[in-house]
Each structure stands twice: as structure tokens, then as C-alpha cells.
Symmetry: D2
Subunit: 333 residues, 4 copies
Amino acid sequence: MLNIALLGAGRIAGVHATAITSHPGSTLVAVSDINTDAAAKLAAHYGAEARTTDAILADPRIDAVLIATSTDTHSDLIERATGAGKAVLCEKPVDLSLARAQTCQTVAARNGKPVMIGFNRRFDPNFSALKAALDKGEIGKPELLSITSFDPAPPPVAYIKVSGGLFRDMMIHDFDMANFLMGAAPLSVSAVGTSIVDPAIGQAGDVDTAVVTLTYADGRIAVIKNSRRAVYGYDQRVELLGSQGLLQAQNMLENTVVKSTTAGVTGAKPTYFFLERYMPAYAAEWAAFVTAVTTGSALLVTLADGVAALAMAEAATQSARSGLPVTLASVLA
Amino acid sequence: MLNIALLGAGRIAGVHATAITSHPGSTLVAVSDINTDAAAKLAAHYGAEARTTDAILADPRIDAVLIATSTDTHSDLIERATGAGKAVLCEKPVDLSLARAQTCQTVAARNGKPVMIGFNRRFDPNFSALKAALDKGEIGKPELLSITSFDPAPPPVAYIKVSGGLFRDMMIHDFDMANFLMGAAPLSVSAVGTSIVDPAIGQAGDVDTAVVTLTYADGRIAVIKNSRRAVYGYDQRVELLGSQGLLQAQNMLENTVVKSTTAGVTGAKPTYFFLERYMPAYAAEWAAFVTAVTTGSALLVTLADGVAALAMAEAATQSARSGLPVTLASVLA
Amino acid sequence: MLNIALLGAGRIAGVHATAITSHPGSTLVAVSDINTDAAAKLAAHYGAEARTTDAILADPRIDAVLIATSTDTHSDLIERATGAGKAVLCEKPVDLSLARAQTCQTVAARNGKPVMIGFNRRFDPNFSALKAALDKGEIGKPELLSITSFDPAPPPVAYIKVSGGLFRDMMIHDFDMANFLMGAAPLSVSAVGTSIVDPAIGQAGDVDTAVVTLTYADGRIAVIKNSRRAVYGYDQRVELLGSQGLLQAQNMLENTVVKSTTAGVTGAKPTYFFLERYMPAYAAEWAAFVTAVTTGSALLVTLADGVAALAMAEAATQSARSGLPVTLASVLA
Amino acid sequence: MLNIALLGAGRIAGVHATAITSHPGSTLVAVSDINTDAAAKLAAHYGAEARTTDAILADPRIDAVLIATSTDTHSDLIERATGAGKAVLCEKPVDLSLARAQTCQTVAARNGKPVMIGFNRRFDPNFSALKAALDKGEIGKPELLSITSFDPAPPPVAYIKVSGGLFRDMMIHDFDMANFLMGAAPLSVSAVGTSIVDPAIGQAGDVDTAVVTLTYADGRIAVIKNSRRAVYGYDQRVELLGSQGLLQAQNMLENTVVKSTTAGVTGAKPTYFFLERYMPAYAAEWAAFVTAVTTGSALLVTLADGVAALAMAEAATQSARSGLPVTLASVLA
């Protein structure tokens, strides 16, 4: 049984708390947050204790921490927690600064404790079934990957301003999905972006709609499409053309009811947003973390994966500004 | 090259005329109709001659006739045409009277010319693909058949009155489909019917909504659902549960466009009615007739099939009235 | 906060235990079972106490019991629990004997405590969305209902022998679904059944494949299809034709991945069986029970609903034997 | 009634001959081809005359010509035919040389006869329904267009060598589709291409897999994906995200049969290739041409559209070589 502390008590922390307490191999023992009321409330609901982060990291009975704090604290907390001998599951992204993330990776490697980054989509039953079919060779050799990832509605501009931009904040999930499915980092990244959904997003220096093309050393190609607004719901689809077929992971729908009238044949919309769509993924992610920490087996997502996705986001950000392709090597140099 | 005469010049005759003239192995040479203007017009459009039925049947250069006249003339024309040495493709039903149809079957057998009944649905690409999969054993042994067959809107009550009733006029196609797929006639027929779509149909002595259950000697079961009104279009579906799986033939749609908005995900309606849905089937039906007549191979639908479906319609009509199951044997006795 | 005792510690009791403990308004305090080891184990897992049924019913701190014992104990336990002042959620069926169930209904009514029968499908998100669309008039007036309900594989013949037969054990869910959607009991029930899946089921006096037609006083019709074996998974579909359209609730699938190869376009199978398909329904059912008990609002499924479905099962059993339609009135007389 | 001559007697000419002869407003009177046997055979089948191109162009009774010869003759024939007073429907592309196509456009404009380019996909019932929904404002303002266009198998390398390359030969259809749907030419074109399907295609100087991103002056983005090989069939899909929803045109399937077994739920593949998929589009294209020529109404696809698509192909070819975005202005300069 793993004793777990949760750093952060916001909305996503609540999702993780449910996963931790529902798993037979882990117990939530402590919660910390700069908002001590929030920490106290969340802790009480699950029979855990509200503590300071310092106290948590100093407590030898705590085996692992789940970091669900604001992005600017991730690198520090990963370094401190691994330094204190804790296993870590940290929400994405590692950092908004690639250099800082790389330093964190070095420190964590030295500390020698497992660090998993919360790219929850790898654990989505649909995407993981697609990956399994690919790995079994069901479509032969992959050639052309396409990821569609649209949010239902843009976040407030205030959030946009501190988010690191669409590529680091939103498309980073899709970069990781590309890495997961293609099994390699791309050679180069070409991005175009626009603020066609809301000019205020453009005025804040960001884009709300973007297309990124990735090229690979062996000739494969991937393309990622993002929009901050799909009024019909959260649109999360992947398709991969291979030498012997096509794999597609389609949207999950709110229900299976179909209505046929003179107006046409109407079905339900996709599940609304990430909490609805990825709830099973959060539980599967946590189970995978518990298994890896308990048995010492390999993590499905590592800190290195977090850094790799961040590097692609950095390259895409540069490419969208310059209008030119950016090699991953130039960003990592 | 077969020389063909078309008896009848109404709407369905026009559909057949296109099939006849488009086929490389047949030529439309003559058209007759009690409405001589209609015959003249249809003949002119396809470069054929408008003639009397007598003249057509007396003409030794005519190889085959397609009978698309009113139902009450079918038996007489089948007998006369086969007596005159013509091959025959006759629209369904053979007759409204089972006894008359049986006599016709005897006469035609004596005349020894091929007679095909126009159960066009056997030639629908979807239903014939389902049959092919069944025959290849893809779902093992069939056990439970379900046929859904809804028209978009009821015909005028004036038509209902002379139609022979829903079971002989509409469900007769589904009885033939059951015979086609099950490969055997049922033991007994249980029908319930209601005039819930339009009370005027009930006042005319008919039903507009009906469910018929068929039982088979080997324990299999089939159920047929009919409605005279499905406002979203022509609903023509078949599903067959077997020991190793399920086969379903679904509706064809007007197009493949899907629209996702805040109101849901909407696709096109089914193709509107039988002309839209079964146009490819009419062409395939004609091609099969030409092949059988030209090569002497077996017909896919025979006059016996027409009589068998009519017997089931007779049994269903009796069952709907009495509320009791009716054996096919009692109807055929 | 409701204090709940669980009577029964088998597989379905485990499902209910999860629903009870996950709900913020209920606590699992006690578990009983004739298998005391099973009761102890289940109780320990959820921090509850293993007790005898007598002790549970005598404990005034317990507000409600969930009855998940074998069918032959349901009526007695409903009577005893309501007599002891407990609200009751009891698994279906109420009893295998319609007369016994009717007596139970009388006793429970006298005891005056709420009794809900576990027709969990009413709470399935798909069927409840279909019902909501119907109630909003989205397809006008309902006319023809069709329910498809196939299990993935038949239970052992030993179970069949004590099950009360397919109509009381399996189709009873579909009878309740018909009552739920049609909002009225049928006039008459016509059933045909066969043991085509496994002759041993026939030798045990039961059928494994059945079609039942229901007629209603206002002319509506419903048809229910059951099979004990659909090798592709649990097939649970409803469709309802109305004066202004069609509503269909389709199967839930294991995932949304679609593979296109030279062999065709393949998607996932339906979720395997009732635990996979109806897990969200069990949670919603429990939540509805808690709300009704806590607020005094009406139950969505009552003991009367349990008796009504049982009466239809009785009529269907008689009809399948005699080959004749059976009125519900004759069964209830 | 329009008298039509067909220039060319290859496979696609046969498709057009059927469309011409099936249309009530046009007659096929002459066929020419450098392969005089092919011309004679095609002419005979449709009751037309095999003639030389010179004789056809000199014949004042011929109203229009359909050019279905090899690409290198298109510009000359358009100029000569319009100079001879004929209306023209010419297969795509106008030319492999953008400069030559532009000259042709000038000459044809001076000649003043209508010239339609055979971008048949604009007439596909699915894409035209999508366009109609867009024009009705059903998804608000378009923002992000995505076109998937995969052939079932690559052509022989010998064909590749003379084809002008994937962008001019294959993706040119998709460039026209983008222009059709977006209603404007793009500002810039970014292409990546690879010969991952067959290295021999790369050795021939072409690519077999490509992704092109288009940017528009108003901030919109389009992305086009091409592959020469999708083993499951002809994959022709469009999706367009707008401010109020998403429109998707999906593949047409060979039939609607769905098989559910222990192996999953399998449906039919997409229609195999362009003849199967676009047969209705060829008929609709011809009908539109006849209407425009007969009534003097505007053509849905003009020679200018042919030149515009060719300019995008030229830009994409340059971009794929340089790795840099290419503005359309630079190509047209």
C-alpha cells in the first residue's frame, strides 16, 4: 500500500484524489495547497490530513507525491520531492521554460526516483487500443499520422496570458501523443497559427487555431490540428495511415441515442470536455503509476517524455512566429 | 440480344424501360398500355413501338415480356405470355387471390417458359451482400431474423381499398425476403395489425402498422415489422442473428455529410422511397433475368416464390383478423 | 446521510456496495449473507460490519436495506424490511410466483415504506435519454416499439432450471422497459419461443430464443426479441417509431477505434455484459433511490412495476406453451 | 439538344460518353482519338461517328467538345475548340505548365466560348451537400478546413514520371476543393512530401505522401493530406470547422452490411476508386455543363479555376523541394 500526498487542491487535484482513493494499492494521506482552506476541505472529504508541502516532503512514511499545483512550481517540486526520496506523478507541462525543464530532468535523474508526467491521454481506452493495434502490426508500418484536438470553448484571456501559449499549454498533449504513437521524436516542426476564434487572443500574443506538421527521419509525416473552439464539444480524434490500413480513434459520445425525423438523423454530441472524456484515463494513469512504483517496472510516460513534448512546443512557437520550419535539434541545442 | 416488350406504361414501367435499354443484352422493342397515350409516349422516348398486347404476344420476334400492369391482370398475362412462348418478368404480386395464383403457377409450368416475379429487394446490393455473407457461413447457423420495412407515407385510402391490404401489398416483399434469407417456408404465421397511423385506413378495412411472427420447423423464428409511415424516409433494414454472429443491412442515406453543432450530430436521412433506394436493384434484377433467359440458368426468383409469399400474406391476413396463429399448411390446403 | 445495510454478498451485491459507498448521501454500515465468509469479506472491504439479517432489521439506526439475495427470498425480505420500517431497494424479480408477488405488494403497501425494484435499465443513460426525448414529444405519438435484448452466452443449465424461465428471468427487464416507455400495460401478450441455441435448455423446460408481441388498448404494438447467445457481446437496443420520427438507443462499444484494411472497416464490439454496460445505470439507480428516500419524492420504479412485469412474464410463459395470445387481465384475475 | 464530340476514347472518355448519352439534352455525335480503333469502337457503341479532331472542329453542327485526351494536348485543344466556336468541357489539369495554362486562359477568354474544367468532385453529392450547408450558414464562419484524399494504390512509376508529380496530378483536385469551399485563393502554401510508400517513386523525382498547409488572408487555415496508397480503398473525406460547428463529408461505402462476431463489428470498405465513387458526380458535372451552355448561365468551374489550382500545385511543388512556404503571388508573378 502506497501512502500518497497530493500537492495542490484545485479541480484536477480532486480528480486525482478520487483515483488515488479508489485504487486498492494507494491511500491518500496528506494534501497541501497555498490555499489552506481548499487543502483542508479536500483532505477532509477523503479522510486525509491537510499539511504543508515541507512537512509532507519531510515525512518518511509518504511514498509518493502527486503534483497538481500551478505550472511554475512543477520543476522545483519535482526536484525537491525526488530529492526527498519520493516517487512523483506530476501534471503536464514540466515547465514553460525548456531550459528549466532540462535542468529538472538532470536533477531528477541524479535523485534516482521515478518521475511520471501526467500525459493522461496515453491511458485513454481509445488511444491505448489504437496503440495496441498498431503495435500488433494490424496496419503494417505507420506512415501518416493526423491528430485533431479541439476544445469546446477558449479559456479566459487572462489564462491565455500566463499559459505559455497554445503550443505549450494545449498542443503539448498532442505532441506527446505523436511521440507515443510514432515512437520517435520528429526532425522538424512547421507551424501556422491564427487568432480567428477571438482577436483578443491574438492581442494577448497567442493563437487559437493552429496546424503543425512534423517530419521524421525515416520519411513519416504527422499533422496536428488545434482549435480553442468547437461548439459541439471536445473533439479528440487520432488517425494513422499505415502500409496495410488505417486506424482511427473517434470521439466518445454523451449517449447512443439516434433520432430520425424530417430534419435528419441526429445523434449525441461528443462528451463535453476533458473531465468527461478522460475520467477513465485518469484512473488508468494512476493505476499504471502505482504498478510501476510498486513493482519497479518502467513508467509509460517519463520526465524525458515531458521534456521532449516541451521541446516540440518550443519549436512550434518559433515556427509559427517566423513562418519557417524549425528543427528539433536547433531547439535542444 | 433479347427483344423485349413492356406491358404497362406507368411509373414503374419507366424504371424497367431504363433497365432494359441500358443493358447490353436487351432491346426494348414494344410497349402496350390501356392508356395508349402513355404507351406511345414511353415507346417514343426509348425508340420502341407502341402496340397492343395482342400484337405483342403474337409477334414471334419478341423474346420476353415485362409485365408492369395492374395486379388484377398479372395472372392472365403470365398465362397468355408463357402460352405464346415468351419468357416473363412480372411485377409482384402474382395475384391478390392465392387460388388464382396457384392456377397460374400450374398453367405457366405447363407452358414451360421461365417466369420471374419482381421481388426486386433480393437484388439490392445490401441485402444480397448480407445473403452472400450468410451463405459463406460468416455468422454460422441463422436463428432469429428481423425485418423492418416502413414506408415514408401511406398511399391514398382509395389505393388502400384495392390493394389487397397491407399484408398482400406491402409486407409481401418482406415475406419474400424472409423466404430468401431463411431458405424455407415458415410453419405458422402470427400477425397483429392496427390502424394507428390513419383511422381512415382502418375504416377501409386495412391496417397501417403490423408485426408478424413466423415460426419454422427447425425452431428458427422471424419477425417482420411494417408501418405505412416513417416521416424520416424509407426504412428498409434486415438483421439476422446466427450462432456465430449478427448480420445487419442498414439504410442507405441521401449523402454522407455529418454536421456537429450545439444541437447534436446530424446526418442525412435514408433515401426517400423505393425508387431512390432500389434503383440499383431494378437494374440488377433485369440483368439477372437476361442472364437466366439467355443462358437457361436458374432464376433467382420464381413464380413459386411469388405464390409462397402470397400464401404467407393470406395467412397473415387471417391471423390479424382472428388473433390466432395460422399455419401455412391450412392456407395452402 | 442514509445508513444502509446490504442483504446478500454475491457479485451484484458488490456492484451495489460500490454505488452505496461512492454516493455522498449514503453509508454502507452492514452486510449479511447466508455465506458468512462472503459477508465478512465484503463488509471488511468497505469498512462495514458483517451481521445477521435479523440483527440488521432490528437495528433502528439502519434506514434502508438493499436486497440482493436469491430470488426466492425477495418477497419475504421486502415484507420483513418494510415491516421493520426500512426503505427497500430490491433486485428484480419480486418473485417467481405472481400470486406471491401480489401478496408482497399488499403487505408492503400496508407497511407504508418505499420499495423500489432494481430495474436498472431505466437508469441507463441511453435509455433514459431516449425516454426524455419521447417525453419532450420529439417523435410525436409512439406507435411501434421494438426491444432487442441478447445475452452474450447462456447461463449454465443448472441455473436455467431454477431461474423461472427466460420470460421471468431475462425478458422481465424488457417487459419493464416496455412499460417504462409505453407508459401503460399491454392488453395481450403473444409469445413464441424455441431452444435453438442449446437443446439442453429445451430439455430443462425452457426456451433460449423468443419473440413476444404486445398489443395495447389504443392500438400501439411492441415487440421484444430475446436470445441467450450473441457471440459478439451484450446486445441491448431499443427503437421506437412515432408519428413524427424514430428514436433508437444503440449499443455502447468497448472503444471507439475503427480499423480499415483490405478486410473491411472494423470497430469494437458492444461492451461485454451487464456489468460493463450497466455500471453507470447502477450508480444512477442508487442515486435516484437515495433522493427519493431522502426527499420523499416518487420512486421511478415501484413494487407495482415489479408485479406488472412479472404478470407479463407469466402471460408470455403461458402463451409460449399454448401458442395462443394471453390477455394480461386473465393472468391478473 | 446539344451535339457533342468527344476528343479521346480512353477509360475516362467512356465514362463521359455514358453521361452524354444518358442526358436528355445532349447527343454524342462524334469521337476522335489518335488510336483510331479505340475511337471507332467507342463511337459504334453509342451510335456516334469516329472522325478526326480536325473534322470535328470544322463541323458547324457540333456545339461542344469534351476533351478527354492526354494532358499535354489540353491547352492546344481548348484554344482550337473555342476558336472554332465550340463550348468546352476539359478534363483536369489544364496543363502541367502554369505559364502555358495562363496563355490558354487568355486565348480562350478572347474566343469567348464557355470552358469548364473537369473538377468532378465539386459535383459529388456529398461535397455539394457540404457546400450547400456551409453556404446556408449552418456552421457559421469557416475557420479550419481539412481534406483527406488517399488513392487505393499508386499508379505505375512510368505514369508517375509523366504525371507532373503528385501535386499537379493528384492533389490538384484537393486544391480545387479548397478553393471551392473556402471561396478564395490562399496566401501561401507549405508542403512536405515523402516517398514512403514506394522508394521508386522517390527515385522518379516524386513523392507519394504529402501534407500541404494553406493560409488565407483573413486568418483561415486549410490542410490537405494525400497518400498514393490506402489499401482499404479510395479515401475521400472533407471536414470544415466553423464558428458554429463542424461539417464532415465521409466516405461512401460499398454496401451497408454490418457483421458482428467475436472478432468485432465489421462494415464494408469505401467504394474502391474514383470511377465507383464519382460516377454520380460525372453525370451531375455533365448536366451542369449542358445547363450552363444551353441557358448561358455561369459555369460552376471555370478555366480560371483550373489555372488557380495549377498555381497552387506549382507552389506546393516548390515548397516541398525548398522546405519553405511559397506565396501564391510569387508563383503567379
